[in-house]
């Protein structure tokens, strides 16, 4: 179904962190940005679609104009907002936001020192107001519902009236919170975990898709918390999930060296979900830490692994 394409070499190897691959497609300029975290550095690669041009950039996590030591990065992710795209980098010391090409840091939010933890590792979710241009970003809300560290979050901007939930957050105990955005965020539902970390979560058509440390994937109806499906998907801890929204393809990757492609079908009339397994890719002797589709249809996907200095790419045959 997929075959391997030419890999992209990166300046350092990927660290073993959840969801350690960011992908942003810039159609008007016919290029794609990739981000891979190595300890305290974000490697950014801009790849042209014709495969001829690659440019590299490295970002470090530190306060602007302060020469203190950099801190370890937890995650780097692209946020596609209606008016602009941002690259958000979270580290032990704080949160940085950059323009999507990594050229300018537009915002820095310091987290309290580890001795008095009140940052994201305590379970708080920080909500920022982002203007369509410029750096006037402000902290607008702090959502305190989780008691454990936040591991991942996912959003869905759906115009459809059926999908009222548009954010899901996951924590280290496997608890999931479902929110609705607005003037203030409203908690719609809390889906309890089973004492096992949820390392990756996605939201699609009102369905939460969650990956756990046990290697299981579970699908829940976001607003009601009804369990639709349970898949014994991997033999080790799941590190990354991604969904191609236009086709309903689901990508899962784990420490067991396997990347799997699934197909999700929603049938609103019967309120049911179907999960079909389509494909496996084994990245030999590698614990995978990031896997993302490169486009909304799932025509191509990219993979990173611990200690690997390349982004491996696969394309549909």
């Amino acid at each position: 179904m997929y075959h391997k394409e030419k890999s992209i070499q990166i300046k350092n190897s990927a660290s073993a962190l959840y969801n350690n691959l960011g992908v942003l497609r810039i159609a008007p300029r016919r290029l794609t940005y990739f981000t891979v975290v190595h300890a305290n550095v974000v490697n950014m690669i801009s790849a042209s679609w014709d495969g001829l041009n690659y440019s590299h950039r490295q970002l470090q996590s530190k306060e602007p104009n302060v020469a203190t030591s950099t801190s370890l990065i937890m995650q780097a992710a692209f946020c596609a907002l209606p008016s602009r795209d941002l690259l958000v980098v979270t580290s032990q010391k704080g949160i940085q936001m950059y323009e999507s090409d990594g050229s300018i840091m537009v915002y820095w939010h310091a987290l309290d020192t580890p001795e008095t933890p009140t940052g994201v590792s305590s379970g708080a979710i920080l909500v920022f107001d982002v203007p369509s241009k410029g750096s006037n970003i402000t902290l607008s809300e702090v959502l305190e519902e989780h008691k454990e560290s936040i591991t991942d979050m996912a959003s869905e901007c759906s115009g459809s009236q059926e999908c009222i939930a548009n954010l899901v957050t996951a924590d280290d105990e496997g608890n999931l919170c479902v929110w609705k955005s607005g003037e203030e965020f409203q908690l719609l539902n809390k889906i309890p975990g089973f004492d096992m970390s949820c390392s990756s979560v996605k939201l699609w058509k009102g369905t939460v898709v969650a990956g756990y440390g046990t290697g299981q994937i579970r699908l829940y109806e976001a607003v009601t918390g009804i369990l639709h499906a349970e898949v014994n998907a991997h033999a080790r801890w799941i590190y990354s999930l991604d969904i191609a929204p236009f086709s309903g393809l689901l990508l899962s990757a784990a420490e067991d060296s396997l990347v799997r492609v699934w197909h999700l079908t929603m049938t609103p009339e019967t309120n049911s979900v179907e999960v079909a397994h389509l494909h496996n890719e084994c990245v030999t002797d590698t614990q995978i830490c990031g896997a993302k589709f490169c486009d909304g249809d799932g025509y191509a996907f990219a993979v990173t692994g611990y200690d690997l200095s390349e982004i491996i790419r696969y394309v549909q045959s």
Binding site: Q92, S257, D285
Partner: protein, 366 residues
Amino acid sequence: MSSRTLPLLFINLGGEMLYILDQRLRAQNIPADKAKKVMNDIITTMFNKKFLEELFKPQELYSKKALRTVFDRLAHASIMRLNQASMDKLYDLMTMAFKYQVLLCPRPKDILLVSFNHMDAIKDFVKDTPSILSQVDETYRQLIEMYTPLSSGEFQLIRQTLLIFFQDMHIRVSIFLKDKVQNSNGRFVLPTSGSVPHGTQVPGLIRIFSCTGEELTRQQFNNGGNYNAALREGSFEIFGDRVTKLGTNMYSVSRPVETHMSGTSKNSAQHTKVSAAPNPLAKEELNLLARLMGGLEVEKPGNTDSVSLHVIPDELSYGVINIQATKDQQANAELAKIMGEFTESGDQSPGASSKGDDLLAMMDGL
């Protein structure tokens, strides 16, 4: 990242070091009483109360250099003497062994079982010496107190912190190459077969549920591997069957132990050159643990009957050691000088200058 990583890193690396030293002491036919003294002295130093108190405090992981300094001092806490090349090789073996164990642990929590395997072996080394045995038992209690309440997510964070420490290390170890657990490019073999971790199901099942919670359908898919059900869980108590073999002594069957610096793989040539060997011309990377390690009293015998150990047994490599020795003589003079400096600055290190003399004497002996 996790602030509870250092104790596990230290204890497991220390355990590996003891396995290697024990094997070398036997292979080089060091008299039993001397060998026992070396092992006892090192274990006493490792589990010193004040040292452990500092070790178990929540803190950031030490840099590779800083941790190397701690182990340099630990290795020299007895009558044993190692030259620079041997210390380098010893450290390479220790770190690659623990990296292997961390990577192969089925669940992050299994790192604690690996630690208990090391602890069990250490306890066996000192079973005839009650004073040291009680120190070891106390450490078990501290490990259990600190780690058994942690969640799976917190253990994964510890594991991720350790993996950042071991990032890009691909030193080839002949015992791993022979056992086919490491490839010739220095990367470990990760099998897609065997038992799944405790708490995980064998992959292959998709279950669909109705809105009322009944199972509607079940389907199987091809998992691309060859897995079987999980084994029983290992014990997290002071005594018990740990089940996993990771962290047990792989040198207990006498085999020649060597390391090769991988020159073939492009990546490792770039990355493994980041050496953990302390630069003797620069100040020794000082840290509190190293200071505590250096300041610990260890009873030295009346006649400084030092035990000279090398970690490269081959006749062929002997030539390499000789060449190194001349270079190291100068380097070790610097080290000895630095050690002397610390004594002057009030560091409670009795006999530090005589330690330096012993090192030089040993170099001459080669």
